[in-house]
């Protein structure tokens, strides 16, 4: 390789523990009898359920439609019957429930009709839509909808497309195995993304502790005769962070405030590229993924697992040892402890590690910060974790933002090196979610205030309009009476011509004084009219009711008739409001 590599600051070199899980090839995990497919498996809009309980679904059938542009569809991982659409524990550190489609597998595993397409024969917009509807999201763990990342910035030429096969987290080997076994598909997928972005070069970055993967990818690139560069990058956590890999391969530094496309570069994980290829060239939506099962198990291995497989069933494939105490989803640096083994495998699940007290000994207690600066040296984003820690701990969130807490990628390097064993990342996660929550509250309060003010303004306006209408009506009536009086005067032939407005006529004489009385009269009249109207009006949504509904309606009517005293009086004031606007 002639390419000059750049360096990112900081980083750590934890023990990798990767060897055990790369001995066996990727296994096909059996389809469990029951699958729990959460609808929300992506960043952005929550897909809407498109199936009903009891419905028969085929493998690959759409069960959740993307909600908006930044969202991705969800599909049935096998054929079967929808048992329920209910809340089920999520694969999330909180262990809270999320809306989940439960599918009872019928064992036939029957595909729906798949329609392969050639991305070159379609408009780029259409290709992006297909990717969205195939549920293609970032499988590195971020699960950001891929199609939304596939638009080049207008003003900047797209220089590089970076394909991320670095896989820097300890224990994790799913991308390694995918590259070894399915390199050609990855390269073809890269071509799709390159065409969509119009990128000039494609760089495939792989950490140099995976020589087999590098060789396989180079071989695939040669076989397919494309000019993509497969680059072995030095092994150092977090080289697989998108920003770090971009930095190492291109020397470009992406600030938190900018998108990488604005610098002419975009980055995708190898597994994402692979699924995008399957989605287009085979018409297969994302219904499974490769997951590393390792740690305290007898059979560490990578498995191709259907999404929605309960973690309990999946973990059993590895035969966990007796002293297994907990499970981590994701790696030990950035992952989280699984709240319950009932949670399913989702698109974000790249690795499941069985833990034991021997493998992950409990951390020594937290000691005070000695300001040694080790964390700042290790931080790949050149932040000052000890300052961030100080302000997060004191809940001084304004200050944490001044120290760029949102540049933190929660990589865990700082916690890893801290001699005082301070769980720095946890403080940063806490601070970030507090800041988000406050932002949400602030927005809600502002919206409520705006709506309150609008409502008040509308009330005022309506009052004014009503007064005006009444005044006009009064004036009109006065004019009518005047005219009548004038006619009467004209009819009396010999009588002296009466003055147009007789002072004897109370209304004509003092319209202002009597406006009140007229208003009252009008209101009473309007109420009468409205009552008549209400009596005449039939509810309009009762035409096509089932017998059952009709019965219910009848029952309600009966109830209402039985207790008129309860319902009638409160209904009164409404009559005024309703009846009046149409007839002054």
């Amino acid at each position: 390789m002639l390419r000059r590599l750049f360096n990112f600051k900081g980083g750590v070199k934890p023990q990798t523990y990767k060897a055990p899980s790369v001995q066996a090839p990727i296994g096909l995990a059996p389809v469990p009898s029951r699958l729990f497919v959460p609808l929300h498996q992506n960043i952005g809009g929550v897909p809407n359920p498109l199936v009903e309980v009891g419905e028969q679904v085929l493998k690959g059938q759409l069960i959740g439609g993307a909600d908006g542009w930044v969202s991705a569809a969800v599909h049935a991982p096998t054929s079967g019957v929808v048992l329920a659409i209910e809340k089920h524990v999520a694969a999330h550190p909180s262990g809270l429930p999320t809306l989940t489609v439960v599918i009872e597998a019928d064992g036939r595993d029957q595909w729906m009709t798949r329609t392969p397409v050639d991305h070159r024969s379609l408009a780029p917009e259409r290709v992006r839509e297909i990717l969205r509807d195939a549920g293609v999201v970032g499988l590195g763990g971020a699960v950001f909808p891929s199609h939304a990342k596939l638009t080049a910035a207008k003003a900047v030429a797209m220089d590089e497309l970076v394909i991320n096969g670095a896989e820097c987290e300890p224990f994790m080997t799913c991308d390694d195995l995918l590259m070894r076994e399915r390199a050609e598909e990855i390269v073809r997928g890269s071509t799709i993304f390159r065409d969509l972005l119009g990128a000039r070069r494609v760089l495939i970055g792989i950490e140099d502790n995976k020589p087999e993967a590098v060789a396989a990818m180079q071989e695939a690139v040669r076989r397919l005769a494309v000019d993509y560069e497969v680059v072995a990058v030095p092994t150092r956590y977090p080289a697989g962070g998108a920003k770090q890999l971009i930095r190492v391969l291109t020397g470009k530094e992406v600030p938190a405030s900018k998108r990488s496309t604005e610098l002419g570069v975009q980055c995708f994980n190898v597994a994402t590229v692979y699924t995008a290829y399957r989605a287009l060239a085979h018409g297969e939506p994302v219904i499974s993924r490769i997951v590393t099962l390792t740690g305290n198990v007898l059979q560490p291995r990578n498995w191709e697992v259907r999404l929605g497989t309960p973690l309990r069933d999946f973990a059993a494939l590895g035969q966990p040892k007796a002293d297994t105490s907990n499970y981590l989803m994701g790696g030990p640096m950035m992952g989280f402890e699984v709240p319950s083994l009932d949670a399913p495998v989702v698109k974000a699940t790249n690795c499941l590690i069985a833990g034991s007290p021997a493998l992950f000994p409990p951390s020594p207690p937290e000691m005070p910060c000695i300001r040694c600066g080790a964390c700042a040296d290790a931080c790949p984003h050149e932040l000052q974790p000890f300052e961030l820690y100080w302000f997060s701990r004191a809940r001084n969130f304004g200050k944490t933002q001044e120290y760029h807490i949102f540049d933190c990628i929660e990589c865990g390097c700082c916690s890893y090196v801290c001699p005082s064993h301070i769980p720095l990342v946890q403080y940063f996660r806490f601070a970030k979610s507090e800041i988000w929550a406050r932002e949400r509250e602030k927005n809600a309060a502002d919206a409520a205030k705006a709506r309150f003010e609008l409502r008040n303004a509308r009330d005022e306006r309506e009052k004014a309009e009503k007064a005006e209408r009444l005044a006009k009506a009064a004036a009109a009536r006065t004019a009518e009476k005047k005219a009548a009086a004038a006619e009467a005067g004209a009819a009396g032939a010999d009588a002296p011509p009466s003055r147009p407005a007789s002072p004897a006529d109370p209304v004509a004489a003092a319209p202002a004084l009597d406006a009140e009385a007229i208003k009252k009269a009008t209101i009473v009249a309007a109420m009468e009219r409205a009552r008549a109207q209400r009596a005449a009006v039939q509810p309009r949504n009762t035409d096509q009711l089932t017998a059952e509904q009709q019965k219910e309606v009848a029952a309600v009517e009966a109830r209402r008739a039985a207790s008129p005293a309860e319902t009638a009086p409160p209904a009164q004031p409404v009559v005024v409001r309703e009846g009046e606007p149409d007839q002054p």
């Binding site: 981590l328 951390s363 769980p423 809600a444 409520a448 709506r451 309150f452 309703e578």
Partner: protein
Amino acid sequence: MITTLAIMALGAIVLGAALGYASIRFRVEGDPLVEKIEAILPQTQCGQCGYPGCKPYAAAISSGEADINLCPPGGLDGVRKLADLLGREVKPLEAEEKPKQVAIIDERTCIGCTLCIQACPVDAIVGAAKQMHTIIEPLCTGCELCVKPCPVECITMQPITENLDNWKWKYPVIEIKRAA
């Protein structure tokens, strides 16, 4: 001597004029303190403070007429922020603090009288006469003003429970697991 006086007098006139002009030219619309106070209030618009909405309460605080511990939705946290802003003592809340809640209409019982619509200060209820009514949850501030007017008592307040959208990382108590 005369010149000195003249210069001083001239200076005074010029500066006075400048100040007068500035006070007209750069007049601040509204009362900035009221706005600052209002920004702290939760905008639930419930009237539990005894004022018809958050703004009137903010005005009352600023004029010294009302105390700072009358807003239950704001909670003690709100009192603290107000105390900070105004340099006053933090006081315990007058009423008890409640968890955030939303109103739910039992749609089977609703008779469509529209009374709740008229009561809702933020237009969070949709419906029409003689039709079923419902509450747009994200807009509801949980002020409870719609509960009383309902003639068939079909509106209930439900506390907002933790869900995936509002879940927060807790203040650290457990250690992160390490690789090595």
